[in-house]
Symmetry: D4
Subunit: 234 residues, 8 copies
């Protein structure tokens, strides 16, 4: 294996200077990438002592990938569903963005998507806090958190099934709200399409939406926003 | 015209005994029916002094149809959108069903569907009250009515766009809740499909759903329910 | 395993007082929950001697979950398809709701959904009886049960493929009818969408519909209804 | 106008010999054809004393088209919805096919499609009889005709909304059954798609289906069948 | 296993008299049925010396099911894809229907559906012949069979992908044509929906369509037809 | 008319204090509202000297509505497509939000949606500038504006047909980007669904999306964002 | 009107040099453009003596637009459906591309799309010939043209309904084939989606497809191809 | 195994003369074909010393199939994803087509489809070169290749997710462009439908499209084109 990894690590080109043009470090989209490819990418990053974020890894990748970091100092964080990985080299000093993001989810099954958003936000230096299990069928549980939501710079709201939660949150707060539909549900939820449509048609004005299960994308919208605020508040 | 109306009134067979088998008077589905056909039906009902409910009439029918009732005593009620008509003969003693139905709507544009439900309920002897403009983007407006909702025997909840309102109501009350999606909205609301899917996938358990804009159907579900309750409470 | 179960049983919060607000005990939605999570939930319920209903469990969960109840007196019921589980502690005295629900199914393959409805109804104290294999392509088999259907307080009608059965039942009886489309079929049945659309567009008035394969939801609509009747008949 | 009609009647080629190859006279599909084009076609047919069937004419065509037949002996038949026209020259001796087709429809609004089928059948020499307003929500009305249905060589069953009727008829009779979905309905009937899917997924075996509102196509399936029977019975 | 099979064979009711009402022996729909259920059904049929047709069996059923027939004289036929099974007891005298069905398929991958149709036809006593690999992209291969197609009483045409073949065959022959879309293809074929739509919209008049991959249904349409012809030609 | 307008202006309740809770003035959604209703709303606003924004007015409303403002000093702005109206009373001092929004559109037909966004932004005190006719099929035209785009606080990108423009803009800039699909196109654009899907699946990370033709919603997302920045930069 | 036309002709920028970069003159997409806008564009072109092609004009535009060319020498060509217009100034010398395009259509209703393709091809200097009314339900009519098709450099095949024709043509010829689905049909043709899917899934290899009714796009594919051939053959 | 392979190799008929009529050698569509069938096909080709191209093989086929070529001289090429195989006998002299095809892909995950196109092109004697990882979110990476793209005779552009790349390439070059949507993506990409729609609605004129993941089909369009050019340039 190590030969093919070495070979692959020479073929793959990671653009560590990308941050220059657009302001973001490159993130690795794991879906469809082989273990060899991801081991090579990990090697490149550890060799260069550059932070690494991998999302949507295929099954069976996480464990051997984590093992490959052994012997490298630094912080290794993996998501509960074993699909997202962050590695921060010891020497790495994370950026600190102004503001904080509220991560709101409807049910327990939506938390995997919320966690992807959270890891992405933190990787890019954005603070966040969680408001979980706040689905609209128990509206008083959400309202108990109303005060806290008013302190957020921005809300990311994650929900499957009827996708109703972002409409309620959007009516409660005046800050930017990004809605993330999830594939949680069955039957006519059509893998998240029901929630997606609900959010696109929200009666709360100014809500914006990302793809189904795209916690990463919502977090990146947050990073774009907090960078603007960080720049403006200087 | 009157000749063809007379002819038609002989050809059409209205089943005034239908109530016997299933317990409901026949209701006229107006869509696609010509003025001549509806005038004939009106004539049959006035001749027989039987109450009449017509739903979903085509454009341009309401005015001449109403005129044909002139000279007949009784009560004539028409909906604001000129698509639903009720005629109750003077001698008619409406049945009185036990219980009352809360009619809840999200926005002003949903009220036409709510009115169809209301006229149908009242035609069959069911009491109802309205809670309007209670969309979830202004959740505190809905909660102001919470006490009243707890007094309902059943809730009919009408909403377009994100169709989120029934999920919230379903979580607030313990009585039966019927959700009616409406075609209100544009773009990816797909003429009410977004709201329909949202309701079918509601995270509030025990919610049931009818067709888009089908205020009549929701009311009939209510009539079925209140009949059961009326029977049980005797 | 037992350590992580113990840990999880401390993290998870089950709301045994929920019945207060809305009138229903909490039900566990099994889909996507791990064995550890469900073992912890079972432990909490057995410790508190509270009845438990789990629906839509993933494959491979049922057997170890059942084993964990050993040593606890009480009644343990599992569905044939190993996706639904009920546990009633010995001391538990089930509520008794007024009325009875007819559970009607079209074909043998629809019976798994019917069973989910049945277990849910009984868990909440509602009586029910079955009318199986009554699909419309053999209409005389259904009509043989007509008399029995007239004795039901409410009908839950389960059908896949053409989803035609609820329209016929809705025309036969005057009581509330809830239709459950199932994913039984192939090709252009689209996992139950064909049956769902057929039911949403039923020519029988006052029929209401729940999500595909949602026997649990139909049963909860029944529980809401029978609670109303129980209250009214007191 | 008459000049352009004359010109068009020279440009258009009608294949009166087509019957030779496949056995059917050519039928004119009216949708999208201009008055001029249809007048020219009518002129060609009257000049050649050949029978004419036009289907799905656009609005406003029927009246002037009928007027153009004045002065020509023969039989002129037009449908109630002014979209189908038959002209049979006086000298024309219609073929006589063996067997008879039952035309069954669910509701009053489905009868326009049934009439298109009926006119087509009769144009090609097939006998037929009607069983109308036999929708499944009043199943006893259909069963009252059961004996008659058993006398048909073939059934064409027309229904919109839930499209459930063909499944019931297909279970009652052993002869070939062709189902025609109609666009009758609203909301999630999607212009007849709900009925089409219901029929394609029918639980009655051996049912076949044609396009939405395609009474003409169902009739042609009948003509193909009766030709086979006519040939076989000789 | 044999105990549960014996038990199941007592619970299951097979209606050997069904042929009386509608004229067809009962066929077993295998999808979703367990090995135990199917072994029990086989036992009932062998005990009663009644012919058996099972369609759409799940994976892994065919081999043990076939073994259970050992020791029973008679003919056992299984499809290449191991999803369809026919058993004819030795004493069984098959009916003989008048006419013959042409089974036409577009590509090699469509032949599994064609075989299901063929086995069903033959089970009910209908003769058939095959015209394979006649897809429209090689139109001269189809035309080489034109003469043979004219000898068929009816054509069943099976095609996936563009589903174009039935339109061409429908234009070549005057006898009844039933089109069967298959799920062969990938991408935007949507599991056969592309072929289904193509056939429903065929420009050849009088073509009728069954569900995707429903070779059984097309064959039953053929059986209905050949029964009519058999009756007529007596 | 004026009587009914007076009556309506008493029935309608406009919540001028709404700004308190969530921070936005109420905007009138014109779709489906009658002239009488909108005249009444205009009267309320002019009486109270409160600014007014009406979006998506039906045809034929704009002209008489504008006339009703005669005699009232202040600024009246109407969109080219006569669907959006702004009225600012003379005394009104608009808020001034920090930052500026780039409004980028693909083709000439997309500019109506862009104008709705522009009027909404300006109504709420946000500055904006236009980059028009910058569709991706002429990529060099867009790149000519790259420098200007880098000066925006946020980009709203409007495109129909292939909806490709936001992906390119999202890759060029680091600030927040909101994509607005439009219904411009024909055939398989499905009224904007093609563009909507393209944007939801954008390969540029952190892009968010609103409903088809929803220029108003995108602007409101901008207002939420600029409010955050205004607050942060104080 | 003329004032606003003059004004508009100053605001609109037509890029007569565009041909330089990509090699095509600019074509005006008429859909949604007002008469004023199109009159201004015409004025710019006549002033500059540059050829003009306008496609998909709205209703009521053609006549006044044509009148505006009066007094300008040159050739004015308009399509039968009054949606496409070509104006060639007298001085204009059309380019001459090598090769010829066969334009094949299935039915009479598809010819409007074929004409759009034809006018576009000729505008850009490409020769073409027509093979009309060659739908696959009359396959021998198509085969009568086989020899001619072999002489084409490329085939554009236009068909609605089942969209089957391109598959047959693609199997007959070895040259490039572009398929154009049309919106001709009704019911489950879904405005051309059925034909589009059929073509995308064609069993003839190497077929490519454009949007529904997009005769212009198919012609532009032809122009791209003939330019390559013209260049290669020099 | 070898017996059944021998038997199968006698049953299967490969048309090595097909090239005569249409000009293409037969290609084997591997999907759904068993190992036995493919081994037999390989045997026929090696026996006849005819080149072989197999596409879309099922999992687990490639390795044993490759082994069967041992002992046969010639070149064996397999794709990285183990779904495409080419075998060229030693004696085989490949045709040489004029021109070269640019193969452009958006992301790393799209390269499997690009490779299928590349192998097909080369099998038929067409030259090609790759421009990879040129997605529109990094537009400057694509523009760095602009000069090279202008040298292509034709471009095949492969992209998933938003499918935006072909629109940009189509605007850059004047040669024929064929777009290939891929199934790369998740959520609302619907297995490539999002990319397909984007390409069908491209704002770049003259772009044509093939099925999702159909690299083979795009290559065949290229082969058709290069054959035309080869013929023209002689």
């Amino acid at each position: 294996l190590s030969d093919s990894v070495n070979q692959a690590s020479k073929d793959i080109k990671i653009d560590f200077t990308r941050e220059g043009r657009q302001g973001f470090a490159e993130v690795i989209y794991g879906e469809g990438k082989s273990l060899t490819q991801l081991l090579a990418i990990a090697k490149i990053h550890t060799d260069a002592q550059q932070p690494l974020l991998v999302t949507r890894m295929n099954d069976g990748i996480m464990e051997p990938l984590c093992e490959s970091f052994e012997g490298n100092t630094g912080e290794l964080i993996k998501s509960e569903n074993e699909r997202t990985l962050v590695w921060l080299p010891e020497s790495y000093e994370s950026p600190k963005l102004t503001g904080q993001v509220a991560l709101v989810s409807a049910g327990a099954s939506d938390e995997a998507v919320l966690e992807e958003a959270e890891m992405t936000l933190n990787f890019f230096g954005a603070s966040s806090f969680r408001v979980c299990d706040a689905g609209v069928a128990g509206i008083h549980r959400l309202l108990a958190h109303e005060e806290r939501l008013h302190q957020a710079t921005m809300c990311i709201v994650v929900a499957g099934m009827d996708g109703a939660l972002p409409s309620v949150v959007g009516g409660l707060v005046g800050c930017p709200v990004v809605a993330v539909p999830t594939s949680v549900g069955y039957g006519a939820c059509f893998g998240g399409v029901s929630a997606l449509l609900s959010m696109i048609n929200s009666c709360a004005s100014g809500l914006t939406v990302v793809n189904i299960d795209n916690g990463y994308g919502a977090a990146m919208a947050g990073v774009r926003l907090l960078k603007s605020i960080t720049k403006a508040s200087k």
